[in-house]
Amino acid sequence: MAAPSELDTPRSTIQACPTCGAGAPLDAHFCPQCTKILPLPRRADYFSFVGVPRRLNLDPSLLEERFRSLSRQFHPDYFYNATPAERRASLERSSYLNDAYRTLRQPAGRIEYLLKLEGLAPDNPTEASRKVPPSLLEEVFALNEELDEIREQRADGAPAETWRARLERARQPIERKRVEHETQLEELAARWDAGSSDGERRAILESLRDRFLERNYIANLLATIERELSST
């Protein structure tokens, strides 16, 4: 549960290399002087750490290429004979790289992460995902009613094909909502990438956040239907 506060605000823009004492930029992975691997001084944001632009539409091959290249520079395999400090730095940087790669790989992961970076993530994600988004009230209400009736039907021993067909029908409007949301998220993501002013971007991001929470809620609804379908 990485809270936004995990991203320390940089107190200075320079760090001292523990090996040779030379000054190194805070974003550097290796000391410019002695070339030794540097400890991870702060939780840099994933985009800049990996060295990809802060965009929601990210070229997957660029991310892959950066991931492989940095893995080859950081991996603990290559620090087996190094000093304990370098080994620790290698472990820290490799772990951070892997976490960054996993987060940025999926479009949804990027949106979620960006919201967090911009301080727009819900304080309590679990709670937020349970609250019914106002725009979905109608669908959720209808679905819950339908599910109750189906469960009753099942309890009364209705044949599987009857209630299964009903569940499938109940799924359709939710599935349409899902597709709708995916499209909207893609559009908003493209607009954020292209956004020129901070104010404009902030406004887009707020819409993105609302759509994103709704999307997660929809995914939970679909999972509920799926569980109901697979239960015997």
Partner: protein, 620 residues
């Protein structure tokens, strides 16, 4: 330079390999045999036999002979209850504790048995290097392979086995990934690879993406209790049923429960031979003494179909986790002796829609890959890089017995994850944390890895402390944890000991040939000394804090917050006390010494004064 090797510590057989002139080779004995059966036998007089000789003793002294010990690694007594009856040796252990195997009047843990196999491989390699005229032929470091689907406890048990055998375990790597490294040597192109590894006791499937020499595991799945052993048990059941109900024509044994363990082993040997035969022929006989049973390949295939089917579901899951369709896989690699069974090959070919690779000997390919990895570690050769994943999700217990996942399965390792904890009641200074591994929602359905108490939380109103516990899975797939209270910045090291693991002290006691490893012993002794010193400083401090005159001293002589500072350092020192990090223990001990110096002076002055005062009274 001493030598490094790669070791495939298998359920049925083990092998050792090394890199010679840039290419990995397995080490064979004088007769050209590379396989060391993973069998250990302890004779009446305490003589230890490993490998072929131990295997022979299964037929003469079965009760004192252990095989397939890998199935018991990292397991608790309860885990293996139903299985233990299939084995001639005695399986025991305390409830909730590590499995113990009784041989004669001694008991061994699975890592100790495995260590005997490892030592045999070590000695084989050393003899090989000596024969090759190497000056320094000592083998003291190794990469050891484990099934990809092994959990934290099983990996830790394997690493412990290496240490007990006197080996520095450079790295624990996954068998299918090791195999892909061995194949990667002459196929340096990009593509998606599926490695299907059906060994003696375990099944793994790994999906990899290879590009620019980086072997990136996308997903892995498997079953650590599925392999050739299960085929053997099925065939044995067929034979035992026939012998039991008297329908067989000639019967050397009347009923299964009247058989001696040696006779059962004879049947086991016969069915294994028949299984092998059926890989090349379409029919054979199972021959035990005068008993003979004809079996066709078709009958055999029908019998083992459930086993084959059980391997396919993990394959589908791994593909789904990697977001791939079977047809997208470019190459399929077969690993493990059980992939010699034609039906297994056929099922794999059908699933992926292509003929699987088997150019390399499926028994040897894992050891070859381990040797390549060992070479990468010691030489820093950067031609290839292996990026593996953690096979199981890591989580912690939350309210209501539900697991909250912190690191998801198939995350590339090393990986980190963190979780925030707080307190439920005012002035609570400790929180219980239960770490689990598995995919299920409920605690009860997952594997308990460890429980630990997070201590030393500064007393605050409930809900105010913010303790961040950071979990780290290293490149071996092994877990560690550290905690930090964010308001006070108090750091705490936590050692996560597996629920079914050995303590460091136990491992130290088990060290084989410890005289060969004086250096390791010195490090261990220094560690123990550091712990002892820390303990005595803690004791002295606590004695002062509890003394009757302390409240008065605190009021009149100590600075505000001085006591709190001392208490928090004591808590911190307690936290690191059981870690094996000597430097950290010493650092905290020094900190405590510094923090209590003033208090010690005050108390000393007072006792001197009191003594003088006493004298005065006496003199009067």
């Amino acid at each position: 330079m001493s030598k490094v090797v790669g070791i495939d510590l298998g359920t049925t057989n083990s092998l050792v390999a090394y890199v010679k002139d840039g290419a990995p080779v397995v080490i064979r004995d004088a007769s050209g045999d590379a396989l060391v059966p993973s069998v250990v036998s302890v004779g009446e007089g305490g003589s230890v036999h490993v490998g072929r000789e131990a295997q022979r003793r299964l037929l003469t002294d079965a009760r004192r002979t252990v095989y397939s010990v890998k199935r018991f690694m990292g397991k608790g007594r309860e885990d293996v209850q139903h299985e233990a009856e299939h084995f001639p040796f005695r399986v025991s252990g305390e409830a909730g504790g590590v499995v113990r195997i009784g041989l004669g009047d001694k008991e061994y843990t699975p890592p100790e048995i495995s260590a005997l196999v490892l030592r045999e491989l070590k000695q084989r390699a050393e003899a090989h290097f000596a024969a090759a005229g190497e000056v320094d032929n000592e083998v003291d470091r190794a990469v050891i392979t484990v099934p990809a689907y092994f959990n934290d406890a099983q990996r830790t048990a394997t690493r412990d086995a290496g240490r007990i055998a006197g080996l520095e375990v450079l790295r624990i790597i996954n068998e299918p990934t090791a195999a892909s490294l061995a194949y990667g040597l002459d196929k340096r192109h990009a593509g998606l690879i599926a490695v299907y590894d059906l060994g003696g006791g375990t099944f793994d499937i790994s999906i990899l993406k290879v590009e620019d020499g980086v072997f990136q595991v996308l997903s892995t799945n498997g079953d650590t209790h599925l392999g050739g052993d299960d085929v053997d048990v099925m065939l044995m059941d067929v034979v035992l049923r026939e012998l039991g109900d008297g329908s067989a024509v000639a019967q050397p044994f009347r009923a299964a429960d009247k058989l001696t363990p040696e006779q059962i082993q004879e049947i086991r040997k016969a069915v294994i031979q028949a299984k092998w035969d059926l890989s090349d022929r379409t029919e054979t006989d199972i021959v035990v003494g005068e008993y003979k049973k004809h079996i066709s390949r078709a009958e055999f295939e029908e019998l083992i179909e459930p086993i084959v089917a059980r391997t396919l579901e993990p394959c589908r899951q791994a593909l789904a986790d990697a977001g791939l369709q079977p047809s997208q896989i470019d190459e399929v690699v077969l690993v493990g002796g059980s992939t010699r069974i034609p039906r297994v090959r056929q099922a794999v070919a059908e699933l992926f829609g292509k003929k699987p690779h088997s150019e390399l000997n499926p028994d040897e390919v894992v050891a070859l890959g381990a040797a390549v990895q060992a070479d990468i570690l010691v030489t820093g050769n950067r031609d290839m890089l292996l990026l593996d994943v953690t096979p199981l999700s890591l989580g912690i217990e939350t309210m209501g017995g539900v697991v909250s996942k912190i690191i998801l399965r198939n995350s590339t390792i090393p990986a980190t994850g963190s979780e925030m904890f707080t307190t439920g009641v005012d002035n609570q200074t400790a929180v219980d944390i239960h770490v689990l591994q598995g995919e299920r929602e409920l605690v009860a359905d997952n594997r308990s890895l460890a429980r630990f108490k997070l201590r030393g939380i500064p007393p605050m109103p409930a809900g105010l402390p913010r303790v961040q516990v950071q979990f780290q899975i290293d490149a071996n797939g092994i877990l560690s944890a550290a905690a930090r209270e964010l308001r006070t910045e108090v750091e705490q090291a936590i050692e996560v000991k597996p629920s079914y693991g050995l303590t460091d002290e136990e491992v130290e006691r088990m060290l084989l040939d410890s005289f060969e490893h004086a250096e390791a012993d010195i490090a261990a002794r220094l560690l123990i000394e550091a712990r002892n010193e820390a303990e005595s400083v803690i004791q002295a401090t606590e004695k002062s804090l509890r003394s009757p005159e302390f409240p008065e001293i605190e009021k009149s002589e100590l600075a505000p917050g001085e006591r709190q500072k001392i208490e928090s350092i004591v808590a911190g020192l307690r936290m690191v006390l059981n870690s094996s990090d000597r430097e950290t223990i010493q650092k905290w001990t020094h900190a405590l010494n510094d923090a209590t110096r003033h208090l010690a002076e005050v108390m000393m002055n007072r006792s001197v004064k009191a003594a003088l005062a006493g004298k005065n009274i006496d003199n009067m």
